[in-house]
């Protein structure tokens, strides 16, 4: 039985020995290096692009929008984002030109000598005044998406008391340790191979399908290969398409392989971040704290181009009430355009922002009613049979279980008080506090999204091995280990007989993107079904029914045996994307965070002592990989809570564009992370598994805010809760 075992990662050995190959480790002969020229202005007309005559351009290739052979567009959901700005730039750091050179040094130098003349225009930065503004960034009214959810009628509720609050979260950087990078190589057959750091190879083929002109439009003319990828967290969901577009344009223009690898400062300034959010919540509650009505207004700042913003808003509004029951709900969300770098996917994808607001609002209610915040939550927790805000009957609700499990684990032993060098232990005054937060997270794509994606997996039986062909990628979460576990379990094979092939769009089908907490649950499920088909196919070929391994031994043919399976659900879920009513997700994960921390009264600094999490993941296919995901996501949540802030200048360009100044937690900032895995099996997932990739990041920040409040009486409703803000808020 391999399911439920913490087997070693399939790619572990290559990673611990330094032999795993990331894109910048690839060194094809004759490779050139690319660099990007970017706008220093947030909003401007591009008047001209010329070469500095005092620079030696003999070994440099320059590409601008005018040189794009096909459609100047990096396609995702809409066609609004160009690969290179043509007449206008809509945000600082927008790409305007590309250069290729024989070395990185030369490329960086050449980029500095491209002369771009701009006429500056007035930028629009305030998301609150973007809608309907005279300055049109996204036609017609700067609104990427509006979503309204209605359940019952809050306006008819007059009982109880009104409690209102506003909660804001800012930009948040994914900070994968490997920067963005792509290698584009002309193929012998005239096509193009793009290899790089990425989550979604098929996003890239779709994004640049029309960019390179008719020669490259036919399927297969461009193939995309995922190199070993050093972290993604959503930051490599859509942005790699832009890097790939640029590398491809340079490869075409030079006829040579071109590597485009970002340095950290460029990566920080220019690539997507978590959407800033301003959320206003107004509830009516009775004296016992029951939610009588819940109204929410949400503004999400998408930056200058559409990217995936409508889907971020979608997830945010669906999770806006938190895991709580309420009969009368109104949620009004809008995602707007501003002249800032486009925001994009980052683990949680709108849910962390929504949960921070909902949880802080529960804390506000508790404060005003003088109630224990955990007691208040228990009173309002969803239970089986309750209807969600979208009217979905919630089943297998794990909210109470994870709350109980986390609290029990937290009680079992007190956390240690850390003694840091230079920390002043014994002199400094520190107050202890504990905070609790509860969240849920829909697994997979919303509504009928999975049925629309038609994610496909192929299995091939070759030389006694089962090869899994999938466009799903391993970005550290363990896809290349868990998929073989599922197939090996289904076919009763040993793990070393099953492997995942390198994700190359020339070889593997489109399984849908590696996002949305769907890889294990949805695509893993497709793997399982494909394995069943493979077993049937082998039985048919050999001519009898028997265990797979037996049939394999009897097999005389050495022809590869191939099957495919496409995702299909049973059609029992109903979802209306216009009214946002119905079954938003096939199932939900549930998670509780209990954080113990101290607040330093001299400095406002928060020191984490311990974080306990309990997460219902349906079934732990591989407990080591599962707990690893939860630990990593949880620490990202803690970093978001108190350390990670994007500091902007007047053009909204990132000022703290180096790792010295964008502060992620070190091992000394990180507390001990105690992970409790709760398993309430989901029958729609392989062996009962649900998605778990994102939920760990949804809740920790709210728990931290509550703990700060409990410790020191400082009420903070905006992230991050830096020492400066905590000190200011101390009573």
């Amino acid at each position: 039985m391999t399911i439920g075992q913490g087997v070693h990662r399939a790619d572990g050995r290559s990673k611990v020995t330094g032999h795993a190959l990331y894109v910048d480790d690839l060194q094809p002969p004759g490779c050139l290096y690319g660099a990007t020229v970017r706008s220093p202005h947030a909003h401007a007309e591009v008047l001209s692009i010329t070469r500095d005559p005092d620079f030696d351009w003999t070994d440099i290739t320059l590409v601008t929008a005018a040189d794009i052979p096909g459609r100047n567009c990096v396609f995702l959901m809409t066609e609004d984002q160009p690969a290179l700005a043509a007449e206008r730039v809509l945000h600082v750091e927008e790409p305007v030109a590309l250069v290729a050179a024989p070395s990185r040094e030369r490329a960086a130098l050449a980029a500095k000598h491209v002369v771009v003349e701009y006429r500056e225009l007035t930028p629009l930065f305030d998301a609150g005044s973007a809608e309907g503004n005279d300055s049109v960034i996204f036609a017609p009214d700067n609104v990427f998406k509006r979503i309204r959810i209605d359940k019952g009628d809050p306006s008819q509720v007059s009982a109880g008391r009104v409690i209102e609050g506003t909660y804001t979260t800012g930009l948040h950087e994914q900070l994968y340790i490997e920067c963005q990078g792509m290698l584009a190589m002309p193929r012998d057959d005239g096509g193009l191979t793009i290899t790089g750091s990425l989550q979604c190879p098929y996003y890239i083929t779709k994004a640049i399908g029309k960019l390179l002109g008719p020669d490259y439009e036919a399927p297969g003319r461009i193939n995309v290969v995922q190199a070993c990828t050093g972290g993604g967290f959503g930051g490599k969901e859509e942005y790699p398409s832009m890097v790939a577009a640029h590398a491809a344009l340079l490869a075409l223009a030079t006829g040579k392989p071109v590597k485009l690898i970002y340095k950290r400062d460029e990566d920080l300034r220019a690539t997507t971040k978590r959407h800033p959010c301003a959320i206003r919540i107004r509830t009516r509650v009775d004296d016992a704290g029951h939610l009588l009505s819940f109204e929410c207004d949400m503004v999400v700042d998408g930056g200058a181009y559409n990217t995936l913003t409508p889907v971020v808003l979608s997830r945010a509004v669906i999770h806006a009430t938190g895991p709580y029951r309420c009969k009368h709900v109104r949620i009004d969300g809008r995602a707007v355009a501003t002249n800032t770098p486009p925001n994009g996917a980052f683990r949680g994808f709108g849910a962390p922002q929504a949960h921070f607001a909902a949880e802080r609002h529960m804390d506000r209610i508790a404060r005003e009613l003088c109630m224990d915040p955990v007691v208040l939550r228990r009173r309002n927790l969803l239970v089986d049979g309750d209807l969600s805000a979208t009217g979905q009957e919630m089943l297998d609700v794990g909210a109470a279980q994870v709350l109980d499990a986390a609290l029990a684990a937290a009680e079992s032993e007190p956390p240690a008080l850390p003694d840091l060098p230079g920390g002043g232990l014994g002199v400094t005054r520190q107050l202890r506090g504990r905070g609790v937060s509860l969240v849920f997270h829909g697994c997979g794509f919303t509504g009928n999204g999975e049925a629309a994606l038609k994610g496909k997996v192929a299995l091939e039986l070759v030389d006694g091995q089962v090869r899994i062909l999938t466009g799903s990628t391993d970005i550290g979460q363990g896809t290349r280990t868990v998929f073989p576990q599922i197939v090996a379990q289904e076919l009763d094979l040993s793990l070393d007989q099953v492997l995942v092939v390198e994700p190359d769009t020339a070889q593997v089908p489109d399984s849908g993107p590696t996002v949305a907490s769907r890889t294990a649950m949805v695509v893993g499920g497709v793997c399982q079904q494909a394995a069943k088909k493979l077993a049937d196919a082998l039985a048919l070929e050999v001519g009898r029914d028997a265990p797979f391994a037996e049939l394999l031994a009897e097999r005389t043919s050495d022809m590869p045996l191939r099957v495919e399976h496409v995702y299909a659900d049973d059609g029992s879920l109903t979802w209306d994307p216009d009214t946002y009513q119905g079954d938003a997700y096939p199932t939900y994960g549930w998670n509780c965070n209990v954080v113990d921390l101290t607040v330093d009264l001299e400095t406002g600094a928060v020191l984490y002592q311990r974080l306990v999490t309990a997460t219902d993941i349906g079934r732990a296919l591989n407990p080591v990989l599962a707990s690893g995901q939860i630990e990593g996501g949880a620490l990202q949540g803690l970093g978001w809570a108190t350390q990670e802030e994007v500091v902007l200048d007047d053009a909204r360009r990132m000022r703290n564009d180096r790792l010295t100044n964008y502060i992620i937690p070190t091992s000394l900032d990180a507390p001990e992370l105690h992970t409790v895995l709760v398993e309430i099996p989901y029958e729609g997932g392989p062996f009962g598994a649900k998605g778990l990739g994102e939920i760990p990041l949804d809740g920790p920040a709210a728990a931290v805010a509550q703990a700060i409040e409990q410790a020191a009486g400082a009420v903070l409703d905006a992230l991050p809760m830096t020492p400066e803000r905590v000190l200011e808020a101390l009573p």
Binding site: P102, G423, G424, V427, T666
Partner: protein, 287 residues
């Protein structure tokens, strides 16, 4: 601009390596405007960021006679090319200057400590240098030398003359730091408020020393980094402390000594408030 840059870059920089002090002084005198490099943890960052464009580097990492922590009588000598790791591990440093050892533990993290040097911290003269307030609090003396004029000794509170500028002639090298040995009546304190728990630039860094006899403060040193253009002693606070029992109210004098600024990491208001809090907390712990 030459069109054939070396693929690894920086080919315009020449490096001159010294293995003895006389060699190092000779190279320093020969190459006007040269940058001295030891462990490289500041210089190499500056090269990468384009903040420094020297033509000549004088590499003193191999000058063994400038490395070490040694007691001479009741004073402690620390060579300029002594790494933070060496300081942390030195039993002499632990005994005689525990505040400096604690400061060394807060510089960057292990990899930086293995390469960064005390001489480098002084030479770089960053306002945020973590060891510098400790040197002020301990009345350290910086030893510098030149080929022509030999050694001279500069009290550390006269060493910093402006933002990243030190009292060092173009042909001089920092060779070491002298500290008085630990005094039985001394109470020292080090506190660093960084951007996070480790691998952090300080927002506020405090080093203090009070010499107390019969409950009366005989000598007071209160020094801050990251609060001004240079590491700074707080004269008004020190004056309010001397000659009486430890009085935490002396912390209120801090605005007379310091007017910290806003920067990408923090604000002046926060720094001043925290500075006062740290001084007050320390003084309260001594009562």
């Amino acid at each position: 601009m030459p069109s054939a840059e070396h693929p690894l870059g920086r080919q315009e920089i020449t490096c001159h390596k010294a293995t003895t002090l006389p060699q190092a002084l000779e190279l320093r005198a020969q190459h006007k405007g040269c940058t001295v490099i030891a462990g490289g943890t500041d210089v190499m960052v500056d090269l990468e960021m384009g903040l420094r464009t020297p033509q000549h580097l004088v590499d003193v990492w191999g000058v063994e006679e400038l490395r070490g922590v040694r007691k001479h009588g009741n004073r402690l000598w620390i060579g300029a090319v002594t790494s933070y790791t060496d300081i942390i591990r030195s039993t002499e440093a632990q005994a005689e200057a525990p505040a400096l050892v604690e400061a060394a533990r807060t510089v960057g993290a292990l990899q930086i400590q293995n390469r960064g040097t005390l001489g480098g911290n002084l030479g770089n003269a960053s306002p945020a240098g973590d060891t510098l307030p400790v040197l002020l609090a301990l009345d350290a003396v910086v030893e510098v030398a030149s080929r022509l004029r030999g050694s001279r000794f500069v009290p550390v509170d006269q060493f910093f003359v402006g933002y990243r500028r030190i009292r060092l002639e173009a042909d001089e090298l920092i060779t070491g730091v002298w500290l008085p040995g630990r005094h039985d009546n001394d109470h020292t304190h080090y506190r660093k408020v960084g951007t996070r728990a480790a691998q952090a630039i300080s927002k506020v860094v405090l080093a203090g020393r009070l010499r107390i006899r019969d409950h009366v403060v005989q000598e007071a040193r209160v020094a801050f980094g990251s609060m001004a253009a240079v590491p700074t002693r707080c004269a008004a606070v020190e004056e309010a402390l001397v000659g009486r029992p430890v009085d935490p109210a002396a912390a209120a004098q801090l605005p007379r000594d310091l007017a910290p600024i806003d920067d990408v990491r923090s604000t002046g208001v926060y720094r001043l408030r925290v500075g006062q809090n740290l001084v007050r907390a320390w003084l309260e712990s001594l009562r």
